[in-house]
Amino acid sequence: MIDLVDVTKTYGTDKPALSHASLHIDKGEFVFVVGSSGSGKSTLIKLLLKELDATSGSITVSGERLGGMKHKRIPKYRRKLGVVFQDFRLLKDRNVYENVAFAQRVIGSPSRVLKKRVPEVLKEVGLSDKYHSMPDELSGGEQQRVALARALVNRPDILLADEPTGNLDPQTSDEIMALIDTFNARGTTVLVVTHNKEIVNAMRKRVVTMKDGLIVSDEKEGIYHEA
């Protein structure tokens, strides 16, 4: 599903943010990418989102080679990905329903699909009773659920989560991760970038550890290594 072969990314003349990284993730896998700040995690996410281009090496995601991908193709490619961020990034002037529906409107879904799919996914994240709430009226956990619903409403192949529990208390973090886990169980490939040690150690998933732009370890059912 995700294939990185000898990928290097340098910004200007600095030392590489990502250096000769190779990583293979199968369809349906759940992978944590851990490491301290500056380890290259964010660069990895940006490369996968095609926000940045690799300096060398090749990246293939969901059958699409990102190197040399035409600019026009990028939106279509991104529709295969769902993304959630630490800061939720909800539209503050729209209610829960509209925030999720927004993702469907953007890709031009017909309204009859939208009317069916948005309530469906809101139910899945447990927000059926919050359609009309504004983001500011919600707790952090609820906001992340909305973000998750928005990321998944278009049924992406892959869910990319960049520090999804970074702003949440431990209990809420567990709930969000449990939710992500259920989506993974239904077939969505999941890649979570985090430095939440408790969660990584509790879930016992595949753990890729990064340090100074290098992948230093890659373990099945791994634990969090202080790199």
């Binding site: 026009k72 939106p75 991104r78 409107r105 953007v106 031009g108 309204s111 278009n154």
Partner: protein
């Protein structure tokens, strides 16, 4: 594109305008001022051109004859000239008629002053032929033909009058062109400013849209629409207002000048709007488009 998508983009476009309504109002007003001035200058130039043409048509080529040339010979020449294809109409005015007309114009009721000339018509040799033409471009051709006829003393042409009016109209034309171009640039700048404020306000939303997989055109469309709406409203308001103002002002000038018995005539508002309306709307639309495109290219990295 699906109807729901079009509807969505439309709503977003209007939302942009509402969200920074102060900038929107400023752009619309500048645009309106610009199109209003354009309408003024456009109608002045077209009317000056129109009046020039009228004047050219009314002021005929006037032919004077050698002293003492008998009237029969003049009428003979008149018949010859009438055969020419350029000639639309030809009128003979005898020396006496010329004098009567002159007296009326310059002495008016003061017949005593005119009586001083009683039996001594000073314009006795002013018998002339007044020729109006089908096509003014053939004037010089006709003039050189008439010059060749024996007995012709001199020819007065309307060219000079026409040239004066034409140069006035040219000055109006160029001055207005420069002013309009400056105003258009200001409008482009303001619309671009308004759109860029909208883009800044919505930068977060734009970022999210991109992650979700919105196409470039989907992200841009509301902003392009915003520019078009601002430009078009900015054009329609002054065009509507000017229609009535033009009608009133033209009527006022005609009433005032008719007292001075100057026979001028203006193009009617509906006729002038046949060209002014499409040009004005196209200008507004174009400026709106350019304004938003310039900004989107500069500020909207998609």
């Amino acid at each position: 594109m699906r109807p729901s998508t079009i509807w969505y983009i439309l709503k977003q476009g209007f939302k942009n305008i509402k969200r920074n309504w102060m900038f929107s109002v400023a752009s619309v007003l500048t645009m309106a001022a610009c199109i209003f001035l354009f309408s003024i200058f456009y109608s002045i130039t077209t009317n000056v051109n129109y009046i020039t043409r009228q004047a050219e048509e009314k002021v005929p080529v006037t032919v004077f004859f050698d002293e003492g040339l008998p009237e029969e010979r003049i009428l003979e020449i008149s018949d010859i000239i009438r055969q020419r294809p350029e000639v639309e109409n030809i009128v003979y005015e005898s020396g006496d008629e010329a004098w009567e007309k002159f007296k009326e114009t310059y002495f008016g009721d003061d017949s005593a002053a005119a009586d001083g000339f009683r039996d001594d018509n000073p314009l006795v040799n002013s018998s002339n032929l007044q020729i109006s033409l089908n096509n003014l471009e053939q004037q010089s051709e006709l003039v050189s033909y008439i010059e060749g006829i024996e007995g012709v003393r001199s020819i007065n042409q309307s060219e000079q009058a026409a040239e004066t009016l034409e140069s006035v109209s040219n000055v109006v034309y160029y001055v207005s062109l420069v002013i309009i171009i400056i105003l258009l640039l200001i409008s482009v700048f303001l619309i671009s400013n308004t759109v860029s404020v909208g883009i800044t306000v919505r930068s977060e939303e734009i970022g999210i849209m991109k992650y979700i997989g919105a196409t470039d055109s989907f992200v841009r469309a509301p902003f392009v629409l915003e520019g078009i709406i601002l430009g078009t409203i900015g054009a329609l308001i002054p065009l509507g207002a000017f229609y009535f103002i033009y009608h009133e002002v033209a009527g006022f000038i005609l009433r005032t000048y008719n007292v001075l018995s100057l026979s001028i005539d203006f193009i009617s508002a509906p006729v002038i709007y046949r060209t002014l309306l499409p040009i004005g709307v196209a200008l507004g639309l174009g400026v709106g488009l350019i304004g938003s495109f310039v900004t989107i290219r500069k500020h909207l990295r998609v």
